[in-house]
Amino acid sequence: METFIAFWNILMKDIKNYYLKPPNISWGIIFPLSWTLMQIIRLSGDIQIVELLPGLMAMSILFGTTSMLAVTITFEKRSKSFDRLLLAPISISILVLAKILGAILFGIVNAFVPVIFAAFLVDLSGVNWSITIIGVVLIAITSALLGLLVAVSVREVFEAQTLSNFFRFPMLFLCGLFIPIDKLPAILKPISFCLPLTYGADMLNRAIIHRSSFNILLSCAVMLLFIIVFFYLCKRNIEKKWIL
């Protein structure tokens, strides 16, 4: 019960202080929105808007979670308020969970921003919502952990941004959302198979545009594996780097 109180209050504080702050809300909405509009204008209706949806969703999650976590954690670390969390009688695992849960929820909400806009423009009745939701949640969790991993590895907020972009852009273009994996140059394909987003994107493609390369169970299993590994790495890095 005591642990739950601490967990819950860390989560609520982050949501109130960071995720619900006006600039972040608008960032979460404006970025996917402007990207959607850009694509619609560029493709001028030839291609089905629904084809863009998986990519947009994945991008919204990836950018929302990683940047928020990396920035807020480096910020708290620099102002030393993060020490308060390390001083609390809660385990590092609970602390990691509380910290990433806010970002995960933020990512999930961001994912559905393009869906809402798409719903006005196209018929979404063919979408398999349960797979979509599972895919979104798994992408959000892996992205959040990746953001935390970035946050643990740097000291300054701008470094966090740079390092997360270093991961994010290649990941977006190698995950099969914008360029199908079989059309990637042969040397890039193995990299693509090592990215969690590849499997999450495949789930979204399957659910929304009914095109996929992997078995859904395989995708889920791989994503879970990524989650476990990332979680372990985050915990280990926090113990190693932050408890000096």
Partner: protein, 319 residues
């Protein structure tokens, strides 16, 4: 009873030996002070005790628990006031305190009650709903101390509680530390103000370059260095002509004539005063006052550490 026991505690940052195997114990209910210049290793020591840093060697026992292996257990009973005011700038004073309480699993009603009480005790009730970042330095310091007390800890770690704040807040904070001791709490504090350590600590350890060079009560520290006895006499006239005669009569005693009809008697050992007073009386000189001039803790600190107090002050300004 010894509630904090550390033995041969070491901390290295790469090649730098910040703490070089220090040992000390803190008795329940006392205020123990670590006094030393900047960079002496005070914060490094505290960080190891509270679990923010891993020792390179040695042991820490807090309230019977191994504070290195079972740090999450010991963290329940310790309160920490770090050297920087690290509360959340955007949150109000009240919300900050409630949040800190929640980290210790304290329920909503109870934490709001405690937050209000502490705000009142620290004279911050009027500022309760203002964001922390709008507070003055002294107010920030007080709220940071309040946050360290919110879960009613048995043992408190205060890192430079009064560095860089105004005189009035400093006075209030020092009194507060004394009242915390009266409530039965055990306190470890660091400081580089000698007079602060002298005034409020029951025992003091001088720490320099990662080593404890001397430790004890103020009286013990004073007695631990050899010093001359100095008696200041206040007379009704100058004794400049009598200096030689006095020194000849009392060879173990040196006389220093001061302004305004006073003089200093300096001797290696304690010496009886009445023969001197009698001699002066015979010369028709009256003695109105005789008092011992004791060396200050400052003198003792300088003698033991070789560090000049002005250097302590200089480093403080730089900070």
């Amino acid at each position: 009873m010894e509630i904090v026991k550390i033995a041969n505690l070491k901390k290295a940052y790469g090649d730098l030996q910040a703490v070089k195997g220090i040992s000390f114990s803190i008795k329940q209910g006392e205020i123990f002070g670590l006094l030393g210049p900047n960079g002496a290793g005070k914060t490094s020591t505290i960080n190891m005790l509270i679990g923010l840093s891993r020792p390179s060697g040695g042991s820490i026992v807090i309230d019977g628990m191994d504070a290195i292996k079972e740090i999450k257990m010991t963290q329940r009973i310790i309160g920490v006031i770090p050297d920087e005011n690290n509360l959340y700038g955007e949150m109000s004073g009240f919300d900050n305190l409630c949040f800190c309480a929640s980290l210790y699993g304290i329920g909503k009603k109870e934490r709001e009650k405690r937050a209000m009480e502490l705000l009142k005790q620290f004279g911050l009730t009027d500022a309760a709903n203002r964001p922390f970042r709008t507070y003055s330095k002294g107010m920030k310091r007080k709220l940071t101390i309040a946050a360290g007390l919110i879960h009613d800890p048995k043992i408190l770690f205060l890192d430079e509680p009064t560095t860089g704040i105004d005189v009035e807040s400093t006075r209030q904070i020092r009194n507060l530390i004394l009242s915390l001791k009266e409530q039965g709490r055990t306190i470890l504090m660091t400081t580089h103000y000698i007079e602060e350590a002298e005034r409020i600590c029951d025992r003091i350890a001088f720490i320099v370059k990662g080593e404890i060079v001397r430790m004890g009560t103020v009286t013990e520290l004073m007695e631990s260095v050899e010093h001359e006895y100095r008696i200041k006499l206040q007379l009704d006239s100058s004794i400049i002509e009598l200096k030689e005669e006095l020194e000849n009569n009392f060879p173990s005693c040196k006389i220093e004539v001061l302004e305004q009809n006073s003089c200093l008697l300096i001797s290696e050992e304690r010496m009886p005063l009445s023969p001197i007073l009698q001699l002066l009386d015979g010369k028709g000189i009256s003695v109105y006052e005789a008092k011992e001039i004791k060396p200050s803790l400052e003198d003792v600190f300088v003698k033991i550490t070789g560090i000049h107090v002005s250097n302590l002050e200089k480093e403080k300004v730089m900070k």
